[in-house]
Assembly symmetry: C2
Homo-oligomer: 199 residues x 2
């Protein structure tokens, strides 16, 4: 089966758009998706940014909100800007790394994105994350403990370093088995088409 890796960052507005549709789109295309959380912060920092480019460049930020609003409305998807933006996504990303190992990364990640961008919750708040794990029927306390252990932290650092090594500079980015990068929610269809060719 053709494969595609979905590199995403919980603080990223366009990652939210992709997270909410990639499973359906990939199933329709017969492509298997690997969900790979990583952090954009260290990658942005390496190019001199200390916050989201949408904050650094206000015209771009205003456009992004308008653009996402239109796209979300067209898909019948709720969207509100998190406050603060960008959200601190470190805890959620470490939990998702545990979810990759355990096999619940997809429902967990979709629930985090929904809490953040539809329900206006602060995903830096551990009680929010605890609740999400609870609702998935998981051992929230035990998982949060594992996410704070050295192993999970190290795996997230390694994922972020791998993203950078692949040439990833933003999220979402879709990477095919033969190493083609597709950046941005609006490139999902092209990425799936390429994945199909390469199978």
């Amino acid at each position: 089966m053709p494969r595609l890796t979905f590199w995403y960052e919980f603080a990223s507005t366009y990652s939210y758009l992709s997270a909410m549709r990639i499973e359906a789109e990939a199933a329709a295309a017969g492509v298997e998706v690997t969900w790979q959380p990583f952090l954009l912060g260290p990658i942005f920092k390496a190019q001199g940014w200390t916050t989201s480019p949408f904050n650094i460049y206000p015209a771009k930020g205003r456009y992004m909100m308008r653009d996402i609003g239109r796209v979300a409305a067209g898909r019948g998807l709720a969207f509100r800007m998190p406050d603060p933006f960008p959200a601190n996504s470190l805890k959620a990303a470490r939990l998702a790394i545990v979810g990759v190992e355990d096999g619940w990364v997809v429902p967990f990640s979709r629930a985090v994105f929904t809490a953040e961008f539809a329900d206006g919750k602060d995903i830096a708040d551990e009680t929010v994350l605890h609740e999400i794990l609870d609702r998935l029927g998981l051992d929230a306390a035990g998982i949060i403990q594992r996410s704070n252990a050295a192993a999970a932290k190290e795996r997230l650092r390694t994922a972020t370093a791998s993203a950078q090594a692949l040439g990833i500079f933003g999220a979402p980015t879709f990477v095919t088995a033969d190493g083609e990068l597709y950046w941005g929610d609006d490139r999902l269809e092209s990425a799936l088409a390429h994945a199909q060719l390469g199978s």
Copy 2:
């Protein structure tokens, strides 16, 4: 008839992609397009950039070349990176401003983009621009003289200031009659659909 304004910059790779398809797409959608050349340089400078973001952020630049290559190939369109990049587009933009007044801005702009991105010509070179005007059956020498007069320079400055006032921060940008902005070649279809609704 629904209308759409196409804001473009001759040095912009994605503007090239749109310039080569917008007339056909707009005709099919029943939308009338106004071609509006402007300069990105002053807008970039206002946000602290002295060159293209594709030069400032190398990973983004490498991705852009790959992305444009794929899209162009998919459309059967030639593409090569100009050298130097970005090209100095000032002379071409001033000429296009004269073309807006005289009614030949579309064929002139398409010819400039083709010379730059398909044929590898330097559009900062006046002989290249002279040849393009010649081939369009225009009075090249007279037009070049007008493009260097204060009136043309001022109209280009005004266009660039208007772009900035509209919230434009990159090219291509499509602006509908009711002031919606759509940034990037991959938003052309959405912009045309919105223009149709507003008619």
